[in-house]
């Protein structure tokens, strides 16, 4: 079973690397990150490194999310529309194995995307750090510090977050009949997951006046959609702007792993019933 998933993932990865869309988004995100360097003087009163990190991490998530929705949908529908899925699924390959192969292949590509852009952001931050530290020392303020370990932890969390989005796209793709529908519904699910913190905050607010139905709906929303906004702790991890509670990274990683298992289980179950 693992061998078959590995081989499907491998071919999916190789196919994805040849997609022009990936190259386009990677170049666009890199251009966006590099473009922030000459604009660093417009830092809106925040520190220069914070400005660079904000734009870099924002670009990573924005373009990564687009890629995480479109790429697996494109690869799944490509196999179905071109009928390569017919050839593969007539072999002793389970539907679940096929879908998991698509997931791991797409997720591996997003790993390349995430770690390549994180490396670029890291290089920019580390190159600018001595200059910023020298200025801070001259002004006798506490200098910021770039944490390489924090960069790695942040990249790992972003990769997990994008993995959740890939699994959501595959779940929608297993149920939907068209590529466009998958991309639209998948994007809406990502948007809802980005905004689910509002529902969590509202439920946690004792002063909020909510009807039972509304409270139930908000509670259900917070249980269905993962809180993707919770993974936005890049500045804290990389620049130490505020304290990260001990165990935050592990807790977020565990939460992502649980979501991945549940969403992929649902996707595999839905895909088993699909007519190819």
């Amino acid at each position: 079973m693992f061998s078959r998933i590995f081989w499907i993932a491998r071919v999916t990865f190789l196919e994805a690397l040849r997609q022009r869309f990936l190259a386009f988004l990677l170049l666009l995100a890199a251009a966006f990150i590099l473009g922030s360097v000459p604009l660093r003087s417009i830092d809106f009163g925040h520190g220069e490194l914070k400005f660079l990190a904000d734009l870099g991490f924002g670009a990573l998530f924005l373009f990564g999310s687009i890629l995480a929705v479109v790429l697996p949908s494109q690869l799944l529908y490509g196999e179905i529309d071109n009928r390569t899925a017919l050839t593969l699924l007539a072999k002793p390959v389970g539907r679940g194995e096929f879908l998991l192969g698509k997931f791991f292949g797409s997720w591996a590509v997003l790993g390349v995307f995430t770690f390549a852009l994180t490396a670029l952001i890291g290089i920019i931050l580390l190159v600018r750090e001595p200059d910023v530290v020298a200025r801070a020392m001259a002004l006798q303020v506490v200098p910021p510090e770039v944490s390489v370990l924090g960069l790695f932890e942040h990249a790992l969390l972003q990769w997990l977050r994008l993995g959740i989005i890939v699994s959501v796209a595959l779940l929608v793709g297993s149920l939907a009949q068209t590529f466009l529908y998958t991309v639209v519904v998948g994007s809406m699910a990502v948007l809802a997951s980005q905004l689910v913190w509002i529902a969590q905050d509202t439920l946690a607010n004792p002063e909020a006046v909510l009807s039972t139905v509304m409270r139930g709906a908000l509670w259900l929303t917070t249980r269905i959609f993962p809180n993707l906004q919770g993974y936005n702790i890049g500045e804290t991890l990389v620049l130490g702007q505020s304290t990260v509670l001990p165990g935050t990274v592990s807790s977020l990683s565990l939460s992502a792993a649980v979501y991945l298992v549940v969403i992929l289980f649902l996707a595999c179950t839905a895909f088993r019933r699909r007519e190819i």
Binding site: I8, L14, E15, R83, L86, A90, P92, V93
Partner: protein, 284 residues
């Protein structure tokens, strides 16, 4: 287990729901069919008659509305059954960036060929499909005939007992089509069961042992090729050097015995035979 048919279909029905109102379209209508082992079996019928849908159901790619079926005596969903079949879909399309050899290796791995056997199995399959030389080229550069042949190679790389070929000669020139016909014969000699869907009736007649004809989802004819094609009431005699006088004498002699000559003409060769004799090789 070997006395069980390669494919057994009992009262199979498949309805598709089409349009927003979900209008029912019956693709396969109470089909009962038994395909014996070790033979080349032709499944014929016009476009949309339910051949491909039947094969997809049997291969576990599409669920049936009702009825039952087995593949080599097993449920088609079981990996045990699917590890023993090879399938070439109609108008196959493969990953264009892989070379033919990489594609066949990939399919070998997915079909459960042991790691130490993959290279040998790939070479054998490429050789059977006459694709050894072109094996290192990317699939994206292949002609239609080569795509069919590499499709055949991926279908047989794991040495399956049952090979299902859906329109293996569609869009292929007569020389390529004849080459595929030879491959089918070679596989039959190895004792494989082959199910062939094709519109090339001449080829089906040449290679198939039994045929089934479907129309509008129903089985309209099934039997051994010689039995279903033979016109038992009519005889055919081929004669060389027939003079008008000899012909008249023969007709009188036959007439004395109560037989009537229905037709006397010159035999024609088929256009395919003529083409294959004039054109020496495929341009693939």
């Amino acid at each position: 287990m070997t006395d069980k048919p390669a494919i057994s279909v009992q009262d199979l029905t498949k309805d598709f729901r089409v349009g927003l109102r979900g209008v029912k379209l019956r693709a396969v209508d109470h089909l009962t069919l038994s395909i014996p082992r070790g033979q080349v079996y032709g499944l014929l019928g016009p476009n949309g008659c339910g051949k491909s849908t039947t094969l997809k159901i049997v291969l576990g790619l599409v669920p049936a509305t009702s009825g039952s079926f087995t593949l080599l005596g097993h449920d088609s969903a079981s990996p045990e059954a699917r590890a023993r079949i090879g399938f070439l879909p109609e108008a196959p399309y493969f990953h264009r960036f892989l070379t033919g050899r990489e594609l066949v290796r990939y399919c070998a791995r997915l079909s459960g060929v042991a790691a130490d056997r993959v290279d040998a199995a790939t070479d054998e399959a490429l050789e059977l499909a006459s694709m050894t030389e072109a094996g290192n080229r990317r699939v994206g550069t292949y002609s239609k005939g080569m795509l069919q042949r590499i499709g055949l190679a991926q279908a047989v790389v794991h040495d399956p007992e049952l090979i299902v070929l859906d329109e293996p000669t569609a869009g292929v020139d007569p020389v390529g089509s004849a080459a595929i016909g030879k491959m089918i014969q070679a596989m039959r000699q190895r004792g494989k069961t082959i199910v062939l869907c094709s519109h090339l009736l001449g080829q089906v007649e040449q290679v198939c042992d039994r045929i089934a004809v479907m129309d509008r989802g129903r089985l309209v004819l099934e039997g051994h090729i010689d039995e279903v094609l033979a016109q038992r009431a009519v005889h055919q005699i081929s004669v060389e050097g027939l003079t008008p006088a000899a012909r008249q004498a023969a007709e009188e002699a036959l007439s004395r015995h109560g037989a009537h000559v229905l037709k006397v003409d010159h035999p024609r060769q088929t256009l395919e035979d003529l083409f294959r004799r004039l054109v020496t090789g495929s341009r693939d």
